[in-house]
């Protein structure tokens, strides 16, 4: 049991970590890739492949756009495969536990969100050192111990000591801690936008911040139409300035010519 748990945690950890560096995002961590690999490592390749097909179907529709992930497809795939191989349960039984585990894992992941967020200033400091090699290396080193690491540990315990353990762990935290962490994540986004705003803000165009704002909140538009309308505004302003600068150029030239003429005249 512990061996299988170790193997499960290991394959999860390696694949998830690799996904950050090669190919492109959310490719290796999809059930259809990781489940076969987990099966291979745990000694039942065939079960891994077949479960990979089923798990991919289950998690295909659950999209992870814009930073929010409703259920963690990767951990639950590994656990489901491990469970099936471990208990000799049928594939169907294995699949049945995938979704509840995925949801639990993803809400556990949500718990840690403020932790990673709190690293933001550290990264900024590091970046400003203007030492790109160091920045890259520290990023890689830290990436060893973030999400995949924490998840791998949880995954190990989950496989070794059962799903109940996981649930009771979450339940042992006071409710207000979880609520507070949840509230923090929506507010922390404002820090990034605030830095951005403070860089491009200027009094005479400030109102446009609110134009974008009300187009979302009152007119219910999304970013694509707003970008188009915004581009039209920006282009119009630019073109109007261009006309002004053309006029300036032409008038200045005229003046010079006037002077030239006068000089010729004398």
């Amino acid at each position: 049991m512990v061996t299988i748990a170790l193997k499960a945690a290991f394959v999860y950890y390696v694949v998830y970590w690799l996904d950050t560096f090669i190919l492109s995002w959310q490719c290796l961590t999809r059930p259809i890739v990781i489940a076969p690999l987990a099966g291979l490592v745990m000694g039942d390749f065939h079960t891994g492949i077949v479960m990979g097909a089923a798990l991919e179907s289950i998690f295909m529709g659950i999209s992870a756009i814009g930073g929010a992930i409703p259920a963690d497809a990767t951990t639950s795939s590994v656990i489901a495969v491990a469970y099936t191989i471990l208990t000799g349960a049928s594939i169907e039984e294995g699949l049945a536990i995938a979704m509840p585990i995925g949801t639990a894992m993803s809400s556990f992941g949500g718990l840690l969100t403020p932790l990673w967020a709190s690293l933001a200033p550290f990264w900024e400091k590091l970046a400003v050192e203007a030492n790109p090699k160091k920045f890259l290396i520290v990023n890689i080193l830290v990436s060893f111990f973030t999400m995949p690491f924490v998840n791998a540990i949880v995954l190990f315990f989950a496989v070794a000591y059962g799903v109940e353990g996981l649930n009771s762990l979450l339940a042992s935290l006071p409710v207000w801690v979880m609520t507070g962490l949840g509230a923090a994540s929506g507010m922390m986004l404002a820090v990034g936008f605030a830095i951005l705003t403070s860089m491009i803000w200027s009094g005479d165009v400030a109102i446009f911040f609110f134009v974008g704002y009300v187009l979302v909140k009152y007119a219910g538009l999304g970013t694509v139409p707003i970008a188009i309308i915004g581009a039209a505004i920006a282009i119009s302003l630019f073109m109007s300035d261009k006309k002004l600068s053309d006029l300036k150029t032409s008038l200045t030239n005229t003046q010079v010519n006037v002077n030239d003429d006068e000089e010729d005249f004398f």
């Binding site: 259809i32 390749f45 990264w123 962490l181 187009l215």
Partner: protein, 272 residues
């Protein structure tokens, strides 16, 4: 805007940027999202452009440590463009940091929407559909086909788009510079950038006040009242409080821990 022939250095910078642009989710967090990847991706460009000028380099790194979020493939395009702009900034002084910021901010939202549906919702589903068919029969080829169709092709697009962003960006900026309209471009880009930041703030920033004021026999859901005044008012207030704190020199660290403390405290006393 003629197509530019790239020098060898440019080519090698772009290649290195391409490789680094895969780390989209490295140390991803809710404050800066994909900023670390963006910094890592820009590093070869910044090093090549600013060489020994340590002050400018610091500024540039700070600039590309800002909040960033879009789809992995679109990130490459924007990075290519940012490379072109940084180069222009150094060589001709035609572009300034604020313009670069504004253009990045303006491009995030729309590219996220388009590329998410193109790659994540479309290509991925097709690739998975084919792969599942084979895997269901126990054939590992399904997995390999999925990786080729989805992962590898995304990489290929990243490669194409990072180059496209650089080439297109350079010639656009050249054109503007020749006509001496850089300030106007900056202002226009700021307008677009502000509109998009406003839109994204409206969509994403959320102060989940959950506070029912019960006095005497009546109770008032405070958040409802506030949203009646101006929907999402608390988010806007939060944002501008942060902006003014930043202008006063507060470090992001302080802001983040401040928010964390307030959130947990708020949850403890029951207003979140």
């Amino acid at each position: 805007m003629a197509k530019k022939i790239l020098s060898q250095e440019e080519n090698s910078v772009l290649k290195s940027m391409f490789l680094r642009s895969h780390t989209v989710f490295i140390n991803f967090n809710m404050v800066k999202m994909e900023a670390n990847c963006f910094t890592i991706t820009m590093a070869p460009a910044i090093e090549s452009i600013y060489g020994d000028d340590i002050e400018e380099k610091k500024e540039a790194y700070l600039r590309h440590q800002n909040f960033f979020n879009t789809h992995a493939v679109a990130l490459s395009f924007i990075a290519g463009l940012a490379y072109a702009m940084e180069k222009e900034k150094k060589e001709t002084g035609a572009v300034d940091g604020q313009t670069i910021e504004s253009i990045k901010a303006a491009l995030m939202g729309p590219t996220a929407g388009m590329f998410d549906s193109l790659f994540f919702n479309c290509l991925r589903v097709i690739a998975a559909g084919i792969g599942i068919g084979l895997c269901a029969d126990g054939n590992f080829l399904g997995t390999i086909i999925f990786i080729l169709l989805y992962g590898v092709s995304q990489s290929v697009f990243k490669y194409i788009l990072i180059n496209l962003g650089y080439v297109y960006g350079t010639s656009f900026i050249d054109m503007v510079f020749e006509t001496g309209l850089m300030t106007s471009l900056t202002k226009s880009a700021s307008v677009l950038g502000l509109i998009m930041v406003g839109a994204m703030t409206a969509q994403m920033v959320n102060v989940p006040l959950n506070w029912t004021l019960t006095v005497g026999q009546t109770s008032v859901v405070v958040n409802d009242i506030i949203n009646q005044i101006f929907p999402g008012l608390l988010g806007v207030v939060l944002l501008f409080t942060l902006v003014s704190l930043i202008k006063k020199g507060k470090r992001p660290t302080q802001l983040i821990f401040g928010i964390l403390a307030i959130a947990i405290l708020g949850a403890l006393i029951g207003i979140f």
